[in-house]
Structure formats: C-alpha cells, structure tokens
C-alpha cells in the first residue's frame, strides 16, 4: 500500500522537476520502490520517505530521504522521524 502512495507522490515530484526528469532520477526512484523500506512519521503515521540506509565511511547515510525531517532517538538503537512541515504531516 505504501508503494501506491509513493507512486502518487512521485507524480508531483516529476512535475516539480519538469517533463524532462533525468533518467538517473527515475532509476533511483525505481530502485527505492523495489529495495527501499518506508519510514513513517512518528506524529501522523504516514510514509515520510522511502529509504535504503547504508553505513558508508563511518556515517549512516539514508538514501532516499526527500523531505525535511526531525530525527530523534526512539530507543537505544532506533531512530524516529517526524515531518518538519505541518502541511506535510497528515495528522488526523
């Protein structure tokens, strides 16, 4: 179900990039849809972004984040993310 939501979001993003969205951008989106996992906003529960987290050169890189987020520790080994912008945060 989150993939459907993601596909709908991609329509808007493609418009934002213009009709000639780069091929590499499309490739990245397909890879994220196939291999990525959804991260949900801790406030509204909707998918904030789809990502592939990778440890690279001593840093945790979260490939696929495409929205402004606040991140905090949820437990000793888990992070949770929240939308920064209230109009993206689909609170009930």
């Amino acid at each position: 179900m989150w993939r459907l939501q993601r596909a709908a979001d991609l329509r808007d993003k493609r418009r934002a990039l213009g009709e000639a969205a780069p091929l590499l951008w499309w490739l990245k989106q397909v890879l994220l849809l196939v291999f990525g996992r959804p991260v949900r906003c801790a406030t509204c529960g909707w998918v904030a972004f789809v990502c592939v987290p990778v440890v690279r050169r001593g840093r945790l890189v979260v490939y696929g984040i495409c929205t402004e987020c606040i991140v905090e520790w949820d437990s000793t080994n888990a992070l949770r993310f929240r939308h920064v912008d209230l109009d993206r945060c689909r609170r009930p």
């Binding site: 418009r15 934002a16 213009g18 984040i65 402004e68 987020c69 991140v71 920064v84 209230l86 109009d87």
Partner: protein
C-alpha cells in the same frame, strides 16, 4: 483602504482598526508588473500595495504607480536559493511606506508569483495575526534546528552568523534557527522597524535569516500552517497551471504560489469578480 481623498483608512478587524501594507516583490519587466498590479486592483480594490522592484532600472522606470521603490541590493539579485536577502527591501519599505504612516500596523510580503484569488485577503491575513498573537508569520515557519532542511545545513556552522545571533539574541539558546517559505510573510510594524534599523549579517538567505533574527530579537514567530489551511496551495514547486488555479479559486482558495503565467491573470480576475467569495473565519480550517 483609501477614502475618496486618497487618505489611508483602516480595515476594521475584530473591533480593532488595523491597516496592512502589501509589498509586492518582483523583478519582472514593467508589462508583467503592471499586470500584477492590475490584478490586485481588480481582485482586491483598495488594497495598499507597494512595488519593490529588484530587476532592471529601465523596467522600474516604466512602472506607472507612484507607490514603488527600486532595490539595488546585489544580494537580492543573487542566484536562486543562495544568499538572497530581503534586508534592504525591508529597510526601504520601512522608510518609504511605513515609518511615516502610523496607521499601518502590519506588512505583508508577497512575491510576484503568489497570486491573490479573493478580494478579502487582507482581512483574512490580519485575522490570522490577531488569532495567533504572533509578530511574524510564515508558511511552515518553525524551528529548523537539527533538521535536514537544506538551508539550515548550509548555515548551521557559519561562524559569522552564529556570532551575530549570539550578539543580538535575547533567548536562552542563541543557536536556534528558524525557517519558512520566502513568500507570504506577515510581520507587525515593530518587526519591520527592528529589521529596518539594525545592522545585518551577510551573506544570509532570507528564508532562514528573517525568522531566525526575528525570533532572537524577542518577537514571537509562528507558523500559518499551524492554525489554518490558508497556505495549502502555497508551495515551493511545481508551478500551478491556470486550470488548477481556477479550480482552487472556485473552491475558495485565497492564494496560489507559484503561479508564473502573469499573462493569464485576467482570467483569474474575471473568475474572482464573478464569484461570491465567502466569509473568512468560517473558511479557515482550524487545526487542532
């Protein structure tokens, strides 16, 4: 609103007489600026508008309204999303449009591509000021400290900016940084005065710099999106097409941004004049 003699009169809002100055920020050719002004005049007759032109001098000279100022600041002309600054614009707005007009209580910064769709936008905007009690309001105007917002990441370690904030801040945490969209900024007279009369740090980027400095000066900064859906159709990208704007206008939207097709403004004007509009407070969808 102006009475027949041209004297500025106030709009009664909630029992208080408050006047709003709309500052139209543009760099477009004269023809486009005139189209913007015509649009505002027809959709919201009586609105007090001051054109702040940051484009070519020859275009500025051709603009017919006397309520205009030309901004020479090179920071305003910086490439998009770099170090564009509104500091000089605010200083000029204060000197030319607000300082000697005590009736003006608030200034509304409107970029050229934020299009007004309803005649009662001034009343709506001023009601939000009253509702929130804030001194500075913007879209998604929130604390961006320790987020991945691109402009916070650009400036969070800027030693000059951090020193500057430490000097001016009356807050407990002088490193807090706020951010908002750079159009649709509403600020009280006192905020404009403070920003216009202080020495600023540069280089800076207005979407981060303005709400951050206002917060650290001790004013109350708030997010329009926290209390209403007024800016539901005010976004960064992509631009709205005409058919989208017409549909939103028919549904009661007050603003759309960005809308780049200034040649299509007469279509929106006609639709605005044909519509009945709606009452304001009932329109605002209050967020819990």
């Amino acid at each position: 609103m102006r009475c027949a003699s041209g004297t500025l009169i106030s709009i009664a809002v909630g029992g208080l007489n408050v006047a709003l100055l709309t500052a139209l920020i543009t760099h477009l050719p004269a023809e486009a600026v005139e189209a913007n002004l015509r649009h505002l005049e027809r959709v919201a007759p009586g609105a007090r508008v001051l054109v702040c032109h940051g484009g070519r001098r020859e275009d500025f000279e051709q603009i017919t309204t006397p309520d205009k100022l030309f901004v020479e600041d090179p920071d305003l002309r910086a490439p998009p999303i770099t170090i564009q600054s509104y500091n000089e614009i605010l200083r000029r707005i204060w000197e030319q449009g607000v300082r000697d007009e005590p009736a003006i209580e608030a200034v509304y910064l409107l970029e050229y591509d934020q299009v007004v769709l309803r005649s009662d936008y001034e009343r709506i905007v001023l009601n939000i000021l009253t509702l929130t009690g804030a001194d500075f309001l913007g879209k998604n105007c929130v604390d961006r400290t320790r987020t991945n917002w691109v402009h916070y990441l650009r400036f969070r370690h800027d030693p000059g900016l951090l020193d500057f904030l430490a000097k001016i801040s009356v807050r407990d945490d002088p490193e807090l940084m706020f951010g908002c969209l750079g159009t649709g900024l509403l600020m009280r007279r006192a905020v404009v005065s403070a920003l216009a009369t202080m020495e600023h740090y540069r280089p800076s980027y207005n979407e981060l710099y303005l709400p951050t400095v206002v917060h650290h000066l001790g004013f109350r900064v708030d997010d329009v999106s926290r209390v209403t859906d007024l800016y539901a159709h005010v976004r960064w990208i992509p631009p709205y097409r005409l058919e989208e704007a017409l549909r939103l206008q028919a549904a009661g939207a007050v603003f759309v941004h960005p809308f780049k097709d200034w040649r299509a403004l007469p279509v929106l004007e006609a639709a605005a004049l044909a519509s009945t509009g709606g009452g304001l407070n009932d329109d605002l969808v209050q967020r819990s």
